[in-house]
């Protein structure tokens, strides 16, 4: 379970990453973790926060226009 999470970390969507980040900070603040668990969660938290910021700073998304030729849908870039 833990391993699986580890593997998919960089594939987290922004939403998932933010949700996980909130879970982690709550765990860290609970004061119930051992020092070793603190280290693991701290590292994961910092990694996720970098990941989120990366997504936020990502370059422009696409702007496209649909061409509907009697129900046949094509896309082309929309100049803007």
């Amino acid at each position: 379970m833990e391993k699986k999470d580890e593997k998919g970390k960089e594939d987290y969507s922004f939403e998932e990453a933010l949700k996980r980040l909130e879970e982690i900070v709550e765990k860290l603040e609970s004061g119930e973790l051992s020092l070793q668990e603190m280290v693991t969660n701290f590292e994961e938290g910092m990694r996720l926060s970098r990941h989120c910021k990366k997504i936020l700073n990502e370059v422009q998304g696409k702007v496209e226009k649909i061409i509907d030729e009697n129900g046949i849908i094509k896309m082309e870039d929309f100049p803007c």
Binding site: F14, S49, E64
Partner: protein
């Protein structure tokens, strides 16, 4: 028939049957160019629906005149439900109902005249859809918090689409935008707007649809009051934001949409989360993580300090100082008891030696006794010596050789008593 023929011949006049006359009337009127495609303005009265067919019969009138009208269902594109009292403009052609030679206007287009009727129509559709529950809050979909792609149905011309792009790129540049170009007024508008929504529902990955139009006159916004568009919006599985006209304009589309935005820019603001807000949120979380971490470290450090501040860590000698003392104590006790033991043994030895000394022959000689030997043997009894025996006398300070001149045996007391007893017997 025969009669007719003869009469015609006699009067040289044509005599029509009613049917023939009616046919001529019909043909004459309907062929008249002026009566093809006329546009007439008037007020509706005697409005009757023919339920099974869906055709509508009414009278159009002004202050002094009236004409019968029919609106076939296939022509009723606006879904306007004409009612008595409505002022309308209709377009159509004159037809004659031959059997009775009744003239009627076959309406191909009917348009409300002026705002009043438009508003009435708006209210009609609104009331109808409201009754069906299409505006119910319970059926409105929530906008996703993190859309990846926004579909926009609007005109590619004008500021609307550019405003939406601008706001989106400012708030969350990562989000994709796809435009479905549609007329937002005129005869194609309804069809294209509906198709746009349908297409976005068909293709993958659209998270929110914005249906938008800039400001315009009531006539220009008319399509957004269309019942078909309203039903298309209602049946969308993707949440729809409507942004039609200015803030004060309300259309049916606004009521049925999941979210109504006052302007296209506002629609984008509603659809697109603010990057800065998330940046701040993530910064906050980061701070909280670091704070929690520091708290933990401080806590553990304190614990460690507490452990290290215990006396044995502070002064490790304490651990063996006590032991050394203990050892010293034991050592002295050992030495002491050993001493005592030896002393005691010494004392006992001394007394034994004293005792021994007291018994030694030399001590006896010192007290004035003499040891008598004959040929090296100690003499204990007078019986062992005879006259002229040479004896050696040992004194405390030397020897003397002597010769026995006489012996005299002395009776001991016991022997005396025995002798006495014998004598008495």
């Amino acid at each position: 028939m025969k009669m007719n023929t003869s009469l015609e011949r006699f009067f040289a006049l044509k005599i029509y049957s009613v049917s023939e006359l009616n046919f001529i009337i019909k043909k004459t009127i309907e062929d008249e160019d002026k009566l093809l495609n006329v546009i007439v303005k008037g007020e509706i009265s005697d409005c009757k629906y023919h339920e099974p067919s869906g055709h509508l019969y009414f009278t159009l009138k002004d202050e002094s005149s009236r004409i019968r009208c029919v609106l076939f269902r296939r022509n009723n594109l606006l879904k306007l439900k004409p009612e008595t009292g409505m002022k309308v403009i209709v377009q159509g052609s004159i037809q004659v109902y031959q059997q009775r030679s009744e003239v009627q206007l076959v309406v191909s287009e009917i348009q409300p005249e002026g705002l009043g009727v438009q508003y009435l129509m708006f209210l009609q559709i609104k009331e109808k859809l409201q009754k069906e529950g299409l505006f119910d809050e319970s059926r409105k979909k929530k906008l996703p918090e993190f859309p990846n792609c926004i579909g926009v149905v609007t005109s590619p011309q004008g500021a609307v689409f550019h405003d939406i792009i601008k706001v989106t790129k400012r708030r969350f540049p990562k989000i994709d935008i796809i435009l479905y170009p549609a007329h937002v007024q005129g005869e194609y508008a309804e069809d294209e707007l509906c198709k746009g929504i349908e297409v976005f529902n068909r293709i993958k990955g659209i998270d929110i649809i914005i249906i938008a139009r800039g400001g315009g006159s009531n006539e220009e916004l008319l399509v957004f009051n269309s019942e078909r568009l309203a039903r298309t919006i209602a049946s969308s599985r993707i949440p729809i934001i409507s942004a039609v006209g200015h803030e004060t304009d309300y259309t049916i589309a606004d009521f049925v949409a999941d979210v109504r935005a006052p302007t296209p820019s506002a629609a984008a603001e509603l659809a697109v989360p603010d990057k800065e807000k998330f940046m701040q949120e993530i910064d906050m979380i980061e701070k909280r993580i670091i704070k929690a971490w520091k708290t933990k470290i401080n806590f553990e450090m304190k614990r460690l300090e507490n452990i290290l501040s215990c006396k044995y860590f502070k002064m490790p000698s304490k651990i063996y100082e006590e032991k050394i003392q203990n050892l010293d104590d034991l050592y002295s006790r050992l030495v002491l008891s050993a001493k005592r033991y030896i002393e005691e043994k010494n004392n006992r030895l001394d007394s034994k030696i004293d005792m021994l000394n007291a018994l030694s022959p030399s001590r006896i000689i010192e007290r004035g006794y003499t040891i008598v030997t004959k040929n090296g043997k100690i003499i204990r009894s007078v019986d062992e010596i005879e006259i002229n025996d040479f004896l050696i006398l040992k004194f405390k300070d030397g020897f003397a050789s002597v010769r026995v001149e006489n012996t005299n045996k002395e009776n001991t007391n016991k022997e005396k008593e025995k002798e006495d007893e014998r004598e008495r017997k």
